[in-house]
């Protein structure tokens, strides 16, 4: 089966600019996760969708980050405006349901904010 797809793979922007990341989960997976992984740290959940509804966005910096999954399939994560501390790898993952014990991860998008 095709895995989780993400684009772009790399992005370099200047602070205060905007950026968007795209994720297409595994077909049939209802649950989609966006994680932020800062260098030297483990992934941290930013937002979780169940179909097109938000399940958990408690750690999403909502003043600058937004995400949507309008049709319950692919998703977009946006940062506007970016700060230096947003430099990280943004990982998308999906699972069949929230009860599923395995999350499948995409290759990630490496963001550098200058």
């Amino acid at each position: 089966e095709a895995g989780v797809a993400q684009s772009p793979r790399y992005k370099i922007i200047e602070k205060r600019q905007s950026v968007a990341f795209w994720c297409n989960p595994i077909s049939g997976h209802a649950t989609l996760y966006w994680y932020q992984q800062i260098l030297g740290q483990g992934p941290k959940l930013l937002i979780q969708f169940q179909n097109n509804g938000v399940v958990d966005d408690s750690q999403l910096p909502k003043d600058r980050f937004s995400a949507e999954r309008l049709k319950g399939v692919d998703s977009t994560l946006k940062i506007q405006p970016a700060k230096l501390e947003d430099s990280a790898v943004y990982l998308c993952a999906s699972s069949f349901t929230t009860d599923d014990n395995e999350q499948f991860f995409g290759p990630g998008t490496r963001l550098t904010v200058l």
């Binding site: 895995g3 989780v4 649950t31 996760y33 030297g40 740290q41 483990g42 992934p43 941290k44 959940l45 979780q48 399940v55 958990d56 990982l91 993952a93 699972s95 349901t97 929230t98 009860d99 599923d100 014990n101 395995e102 999350q103 499948f104 991860f105 995409g106 290759p107 990630g108």
Partner: protein, 110 residues
């Protein structure tokens, strides 16, 4: 608050030596714990989960509730085991959210 701690950033062993990657967690209930692995230039992927009590690629991990630990072990390390290993705790909030540790790089030398 739930937390996962992996005290070692880097663990370096020789091929054939035993390996133990440490993981400690803080959670008062019945935890669900996982080990995820990321090989060089590959995606993060599930290695094993404690509820399955399985051995994958020779690795095992036993949940010790008394010590709140879930250490990953392998009796004889292979060079292909070199990777980044993350311990993760499933949030008790029923959302499926994973709380990851900082990760440990395992380097197996020939």
């Amino acid at each position: 608050a739930q937390r996962v701690t992996q005290p070692e950033k880097l663990l370096s062993v020789f091929k054939g030596a035993p390996v133990e990657l440490k993981c400690n967690y803080s959670y008062s209930g019945s935890p669900e714990l996982f080990w995820y692995v990321q090989y060089s230039r590959q995606r993060l992927q599930l290695l094993l989960r404690h509820i399955s009590r399985e051995s994958i690629k020779g690795f095992t991990a036993d949940l010790n509730k008394g010590e709140t630990s879930f250490h990953l072990k392998k009796p004889f390390a292979q060079e292909e085991d070199s990777a980044m290993y993350y311990c993760a705790l499933k949030s008790p909030s029923n959302t499926g959210k994973l709380i990851f540790g900082q990760g440990t790089t395992l380097q197996v030398k020939p």
